[in-house]
Symmetry: C2
Subunit: 351 residues, 2 copies
Amino acid sequence: MDIGLVNFGTTLIDPHTGQTVSQRERFREVVDGAVLAEELGYDWYALGEHHFGEHDLISSPPVVLAAIAQRTSKIALATGTTLVANRDPVLVAEDYATVDLLSDGRLQIISGGSFFPEPYVVFDQDPARKAERKRENLELLMRLFSEESVTWQGEFRSPLTEVLVQPRLMQETPPVWVSGGSAPDSAELAVDLGLPMVFGTIARAPEDHVPTFRRYRDLWAERGRPPEAARTGAASHVFVAETSQEAKSLWRDYFANYFSRGKLPPGAPRRNVDFDEAIGPHGPAICGSPAEVVDKLGTLHELWGQDLHLMAIDIGGIPYAKVSRAMELVASDVIPQVANLGSDRKAAARA
Amino acid sequence: MDIGLVNFGTTLIDPHTGQTVSQRERFREVVDGAVLAEELGYDWYALGEHHFGEHDLISSPPVVLAAIAQRTSKIALATGTTLVANRDPVLVAEDYATVDLLSDGRLQIISGGSFFPEPYVVFDQDPARKAERKRENLELLMRLFSEESVTWQGEFRSPLTEVLVQPRLMQETPPVWVSGGSAPDSAELAVDLGLPMVFGTIARAPEDHVPTFRRYRDLWAERGRPPEAARTGAASHVFVAETSQEAKSLWRDYFANYFSRGKLPPGAPRRNVDFDEAIGPHGPAICGSPAEVVDKLGTLHELWGQDLHLMAIDIGGIPYAKVSRAMELVASDVIPQVANLGSDRKAAARA
């Protein structure tokens, strides 16, 4: 199982000091965090895309990923997610192909649509048609990445006639994943396009997502695609310290700070933000000693069989030194224990 | 007078070897060129924005500038131009504020609109309304950069209600210039907004631009703005070698290669691409020994009084070693001779 980090550049007050870092400093932390993640051996560094919010600073992931590309050489430069449903696929193709070239082919895009209403309002889009927008835009994006002369007609942008998007993606196979939740649309889209999926597993009980993973794999198999190619990813809020007690006592206030200041999409099921429940056996978050984190990741992997797990450690308001210490502990004491999860299954599937 | 370089990532066959560098390699040259430009003491490094063409690779200047930001610390990171007329100002504000933060406030935007028809076709825009699009979009961009809650209504995008664009520009004064040609619209726009201007001086006889510079300054003075604040920029194709003969013999084939393969906007006055005329006293290009380049820049400065001169040296198809050698010669033997041009006038105006 590959392990990555995901970061939205969330900028919150530190509940212990009352201080908030500047936007300049926050971007420095995001870029430095990527450099450290590569040194420590993480597989992915993913940036989320949020717009028009008080706290989340990353609205242009490809701009930040291009900066990170110059300070790293191996780690995958990812998004989690790119708002493909809300952006013009032509501009998405241009921006991300540029990142792929600037990073020697290290780009990974997780394509989604905004959970928050603001982008639909500002970009004059109907939120009720999110799934259709995501499908049309992603289908077009895949063609723009793969074909040098695209003639196309659709519903959500003006037609294209023999358009050559420049520059060209460096990777031969477009490095695109589909983000998905409990609704079936995204799994159908991913299977139609033969793409891997990342599921939004950060807000509900782990058991709730089992049918979601299963539906994707079943649909994939029904279409006769090779089962081992149905790659999946998941994500959690994660915090770790030397001991269980220390991790919990350090994280409790930051966690509460994050959930009291972060905003939820209207109509979304209110997340259970009771700390002890959230980090308990049926909660979505992971917090504890390295051994406890290994255990919970193992349990999640038994449930889901994911190939990639993205950890949100740097959620805002936590001093960078504490974030980087947690990153180091995960790298030294967790990644070696979970890196081989699933490799037997994959080897068997290939045999 | 500040000296900068401008680069479109143009990728052409080398007429002497028949080879074309890969897109990956071309982006590496663009980024390495910026690092070298900073080491050599250039003031600006500007990237042009072109879309859907066979040869020009930079469609997303902010993505490439963010990469350059991580490899440099002093040089201004500029565009020349950003197609403000053809892009959504909301996304422009997000992308470029991110670059400003990632570069510690080194951003400079020259705002223009596409000379080529493809962006109007692909983005479903009426090219006849380019000037109106540029005005509306630039006025909105300035507000999005300066105000934290923007309520706005216009013609070319949907209305905005109390929109906070994130992240926020680092520089207090938005570092925005207006690009202009012989039509009066852009000068009026720049004076209305109190912005400096860069004139497109690369295609016609230097004398032709004198009334254009004068009109901007006259309009500026008519409005009672302080004359010394009417900053202007210009641009030329430039090549230099140790001797006049060497410069001409080196550049002649590359220049012909560039003009035979580059494309002009339909309806544009056909440029005079006779090499000797182009580099002669009434031609727009500059080619020769360092002393000749100093002379011609001095003549242009007498005509125009520009505060900034952007040089297009790396025009495509020229091996990087020859480009960097020309950059070095300009830095060692030209910049010291022209850096003080205009400083007396400015000091007098301030006195």
